[in-house]
Symmetry: C2
Subunit: 291 residues, 2 copies
């Protein structure tokens, strides 16, 4: 099969062509501007690619409910021009092939469960920690949607006693995203995270916040694998710090080797690396082709 994939981010779009084994053959990327221009470029890219199906993992919030009149829309995003944009409709008008549609992070979770770090498992959670924080939730072999879709970036966490930064989330101020996303690191320390040394105390706070998110996810959905991706997680020193914090916070309560000796193999980077998003969209396309 020839499957198209769109990783539709708020900053940039990546479009590619791959196959049902997760191999990505080619790709292009361009900045996210207006919906017409950006989706226009995606349509132009796929026009002569003869894809059997196309999967779209989109920034959100989106409407992922096939029974809803606004299915396929980007909904209440503050991103100029994109509010209530019928993304899937624009694609459907251009291509008469099965289209897969979900959040970017649900797509990445599916990609990791299909070809990546959670391959062969029937549950995982995929976090991205970058400009924002989000997570895709895969439970009992299905992506979670429910009422809308998970919005894990905004969970409430405890403040670290050494953290005086007030948080930047316009809705919740100091929710997870408000204190742990890239902009929080930059505003707290006055420089970008990428410019801070690996032993800087910034990472202690970061590990504390991310660990709380992992702990609450473990206690609420009990995923078989926790995958941590996104720009902030390029700071690889965070992984052992987060694992230690998770063990400290759980304090032995959940009795499973994955949370004891096995934790190094439980809280992991994306198996698909920085391709997790595009491969996830590809996995949505493969699923659409097989429906």
């Amino acid at each position: 099969m020839r499957i198209g994939a769109i990783e539709a981010g708020g900053t940039k779009f990546v479009c590619g062509i791959g196959n049902e084994h997760g191999a990505i053959e080619e790709r292009i990327s361009f900045p996210t501007t207006t919906p017409d221009e950006t989706v226009g470029k995606a349509i132009a890219y796929f026009k002569d690619k003869a894809a059997d199906a196309i999967g779209i993992g989109s920034f959100g919030p989106i409407d992922p409910n096939p029974d809803s009149p606004t299915y396929g829309y980007v909904t209440t995003t503050p991103k100029p021009g994109w509010t209530n944009f019928n993304f899937l409709g624009a694609m459907r008008a251009a291509f008469d092939v099965p289209l897969g549609w979900d959040t970017d992070v649900n797509a990445a979770a599916l990609g990791e469960a299909t070809w990546g770090a959670a391959r062969g498992l029937d549950s995982c959670i995929y976090f991205t920690i970058g400009t924002g924080v989000g997570a895709g939730v895969y439970v009992e072999g299905k992506l979670a949607h429910g009422l809308v879709h998970p919005e894990v970036g905004h969970i409430l966490i405890r403040r670290h006693p050494d953290d005086a930064y007030e948080g930047f989330c316009p809705y919740h101020r100091d929710c997870l995203e408000g204190v742990a996303a890239g902009p929080a690191i930059e505003r707290r320390w006055g420089v970008k995270g990428s410019e801070l040394a690996p032993e800087h105390e910034a990472w202690k706070l970061e590990a504390y916040y991310i660990a709380q998110a992992v702990v609450n996810a473990v206690l609420i959905v009990s995923p078989m694998k926790v995958v941590l991706g996104g720009g902030v997680m390029h700071q690889r020193q965070l992984f052992p710090m987060i694992r230690d914090e998770v063990q400290r916070l759980l304090n032995g309560y959940v009795s499973h080797d994955a949370l004891r000796q096995g934790i190094g193999d439980y809280i992991v980077p994306p198996g698909l690396g920085d391709d997790a998003g595009l491969a996830g969209a590809l996995a949505l396309g493969v699923a659409a082709a097989r429906r």
Copy 2:
């Protein structure tokens, strides 16, 4: 069909017989003592009932993984005598019928999704707030298990600034259960919650803690219905207080009517009332019979 049901609680067992429509025809209950005596009474009860299947919703932690060598065990419970007790094995030795097996709270979630407040929906979360706190998680038409099973009672929440009580959880001190379960109310105020007036400030703290659990559950699994059961939730004044707190904490972020005007129909008591646990076990039995 004639279906047996066991609501196996840490304090008491309820056994009953019902049918595939959720009607419970008869029941008995007895205190939870030793495994041999307690399960022995359950076996004696069902001996002449000619059940086509029996569902068991058990206190835990339990092993709900059919591929595990300890499937069907109550595992690391501190309850004397029950640690690593092969509950399902004891039932299997006595009855040659399909047996359903899950946590008491997952059973209740399934019961609510089958016949109760979440009837017809493909997701819900069922909280019980009583001597302990727990939740069953139903996602995309399936009960969540994953690594073990959800242990929502122990999520980390923010302390209310007016709350000086330190929490009683032996693992985490002031996790959700540690500050919001019945014993926390009793230790904080010196009397049982049932003796406190509906306008007592105890309920303000309680609503704040339970609302945080609801908010984090909404953000992590996006359930179509939040069902709040258990002894503490007999304090019906808590429902409007929790709904208000949830709206205040989410601050409009999740854009769905269920969290706005519809919240009175979103955060609700069990549709099955105090039968949620036994009816849930019945639902597990029905599912086992149909497998």
